[in-house]
């Protein structure tokens, strides 16, 4: 049975292996160079008075396109596995009638399905695992730069979390068995592929929206305004209201996944975009034009921010810190493993009872 499974699967396996090998080769050739650039860049910028924020931003923008491309590959790989390995696995047999040939050899359907599901799920997980491993290694320095950038790609955030570490292995196993299950239920390859894609995308979207935030209780903290990252601070017209918009980022933990970010006043109530503070006079009033050109924007803001701090305004954030990355990876992989096993059980039941 192992031989037959391999004989039917080997073309697809060879193609995937070739594509992954090509990807790995490209990453292996370019990865060390990027890592060296980043290490030397960081080493030299730390001695600069302005720090590394400018260097990190430039570094990220230089590598943004390939960074997003390889991330997309890891995100799409499980879906492809579900579509092209999962959905046709049984439907192709049902459409050609060959299940009636193979089910009447001297092996039970259970054994037949066990070998097919087991081997190809293993191949799916290997493909996704190798892909994720290579990409995680290659984009290590870019991930670091991406977290501090604005808009940032924090490591805990939905995009990078899904495309790094071990969760892609769980996604691939789930997508594969999902494809097989839908194939058995629909019994036709093309509709099964379409439905597999739709269901898988829905699950992948629902997970970070509805489930992942609650895997652990998020951390809630308030940051004093001068210490947090300001997106925009400005006044509309002379004596107009003061606009303050804050970055959804934890200054001390740029890799964290921020669930909510708001400006609160001294009593803890949420303040909207505009802060009720005088802009006619005092620290938040605009400087005379001559004075402004001499100081940097951040320095110009600080008297106003200190004034707001004195009035009790703070930045309140709820987030999952980056240190939870691996805990969340394991939790989520476990969840997908349970889903996968549940669907596999359904497959066995359907093949034994429902099909003929």
């Amino acid at each position: 049975m192992i031989w037959l499974t391999w004989r039917q699967f080997r073309a697809a396996a060879a193609m995937t292996a070739a594509a992954l090998a090509a990807l790995a080769a490209v990453l292996a050739l370019t990865g060390p160079g990027i890592a060296d650039d980043y290490a030397s860049g960081i080493a030299s910028c730390t001695t600069q008075p302005n720090g590394c924020s400018r260097y990190i931003e430039t570094f990220f923008h230089d590598h943004q396109a390939p960074f997003l491309a390889v991330t997309a590959i890891v995100l799409v790989l499980p879906a492809l596995v579900g579509l092209f390995w999962g959905a046709p696995l049984i439907t192709r047999e049902l459409e050609a009638g060959t299940h009636r040939l193979v089910w009447n050899q001297s092996i039970t359907r259970t054994r037949w399905l066990t070998v097919k599901l087991g081997l190809i799920a293993l191949a799916s997980m290997t493909a996704a695992g190798l892909g994720s491993l290579a990409v995680t290694w290659w984009s290590g320095p870019i991930d670091k730069a991406a977290a501090g950038n604005s808009p940032g790609f924090p490591r805990m955030g939905p995009l990078l979390f899904d495309a790094r570490g071990i969760v892609p292995i769980g996604y691939a196993a789930f997508a594969f068995v999902l494809g097989v299950t839908i194939g058995i239920l629909i019994r036709r390859t093309l509709p099964a592929m379409a439905i597999t894609l739709a269901v898988f995308v829905a699950v992948q979207v629902a997970m970070p929206l509805l489930a992942r935030p609650y895997l652990m209780a998020p951390v809630k903290s308030t940051i004093e305004l001068p210490q947090t990252k300001i997106d925009m601070l400005g006044i509309q017209g002379r004596g107009g209201p003061l606009y303050l918009s804050l970055e959804s980022q934890v200054t001390t933990d740029p890799g964290a996944w921020v669930l909510s970010s708001r400006l609160i006043d001294a009593s803890g109530k949420t303040v909207g975009d505009t802060v009720p503070v005088s802009t006619e006079s005092g620290p938040c009033a605009p400087r005379p034009p001559g004075e402004r050109s001499e100081t940097r924007a951040e320095q110009a803001q600080s008297p106003c921010l200190n004034e707001l701090k004195r009035l009790g305004y703070r930045h309140e954030l709820t987030y999952h810190p980056a240190s939870r990355f691996w805990s969340f990876q394991w939790y989520e992989t476990a969840i997908y493993t349970v889903l996968t096993l549940g669907l596999a059980g359904l497959c066995f039941w359907l093949v034994r009872r429902r099909l003929s």
Binding site: M1, W3, L4, R7, Q8, A96, G97, T98, R100, L101, V102, W103, N104, Q105, S106, I107, T108, R111, R353, S356
Partner: protein, 292 residues
């Protein structure tokens, strides 16, 4: 020894009974023909016999066991499914390897000899074979597994007359050499007439008649004579038709027919089968399946 025993066997799809109240007791060593119009339940009965389906009602045992109950039972029953499915992308050699890997009793020499006699090269892809060649490949897989019972579902339906004859001939040779019991279905009596020595007529999900062909032919008669509406109690009427002055009966009886008024003629197997199909539909002889 009994090859297949069914008791009140039934299979329901939704609210429709595909097979109902089926009682059968087929002794070993026969080539059994299962005949009936399309949709009569032939495939359902065969799928029940090989364990592809589970019965909704009643019991079925094949070679003394529940069909499809495990690898050992699967090994004892060969099945050539309708349209003789094979893997289009695999070569004939791959199919032999499949058979060898999946069947402990695989007879590789038998399979190779058979394919060689048929002139089928091992490196040919199954998808490139003609319908007749594909049927032969499927039959080879079924035979080389060395089953005790070989079940074939309409194996010749898609074949031209020459391929049909070759296929049935090959099947007969294998059955004789290996002392196989064979259960073979067709909607054409003419296919079965040449090869079967046991016959089951299945119409509208029910078994109409089952028995050894010789015995069926010996006990069925056509009676023609002056109009009459009643017959002796030991003469079971299978079909009857009357004109104003004449009656035409097909009857089943164990005893002799003494009434001198009757002209008694023998029935061919085809007439016999058609009579049972006719009886069940209650209409005049309709051309059930015209030979393709």
């Amino acid at each position: 020894m009994t090859v297949l025993r069914a008791q009140a066997l039934g299979k329901k799809y939704g609210s429709h009974w595909a097979l109902k109240d089926c009682d059968l007791d087929i002794p070993a060593g026969h080539v059994v023909g299962l005949v009936g119009p399309n949709g009569a339940g032939k495939t359902t009965l065969m799928n029940l016999a090989v364990g592809q389906l589970r019965p909704t009602a009643g019991d079925i045992t094949v070679l003394g066991n529940k069909p499809g109950s495990g690898p050992a039972q699967l090994a004892r029953v060969g099945y050539v499914a309708q349209d003789t499915p094979t893997y289009a992308g695999l070569s004939i050699a791959d199919h032999l390897r499949l058979g060898a890997r999946l069947n402990p009793g695989w007879d590789d020499a038998l399979a190779r000899n058979r394919l060689e006699q048929l002139g089928l090269g091992l490196d040919r892809k199954a998808g490139k074979l003609s319908g007749g060649q594909r049927a032969q490949l499927a039959l080879t897989l079924g035979i080389a597994k060395r089953p005790e019972l070989l079940v074939l579902d309409e194996p010749v339906a898609a074949l031209d007359p020459l391929a049909r004859r070759e296929f049935l001939q090959g099947l007969m040779e294998a059955a004789a050499e290996q002392e196989l019991s064979v259960l073979l279905s067709s909607h054409l009596v003419s296919d079965l007439e040449r090869v079967c020595d046991y016959l089951i007529v299945l119409v509208d999900s029910r078994v109409r008649v089952a028995g050894e062909v010789e015995e069926l032919l010996a006990t069925h008669h056509r009676l023609t004579g002056p109009r009459r509406d009643r017959l002796p109690a030991d003469q079971q009427v299978v079909s009857a038709s009357h004109t104003e002055r004449q009656s035409n009966f097909i009857i089943r009886t164990e005893g002799p027919i003494h009434d001198p008024a009757w002209t008694v003629t023998k029935l061919s197997l085809e007439d016999l089968v058609l009579a049972y199909m006719d009886e069940s539909t209650g209409t005049r002889l309709r051309p059930l399946e015209v030979q393709r």
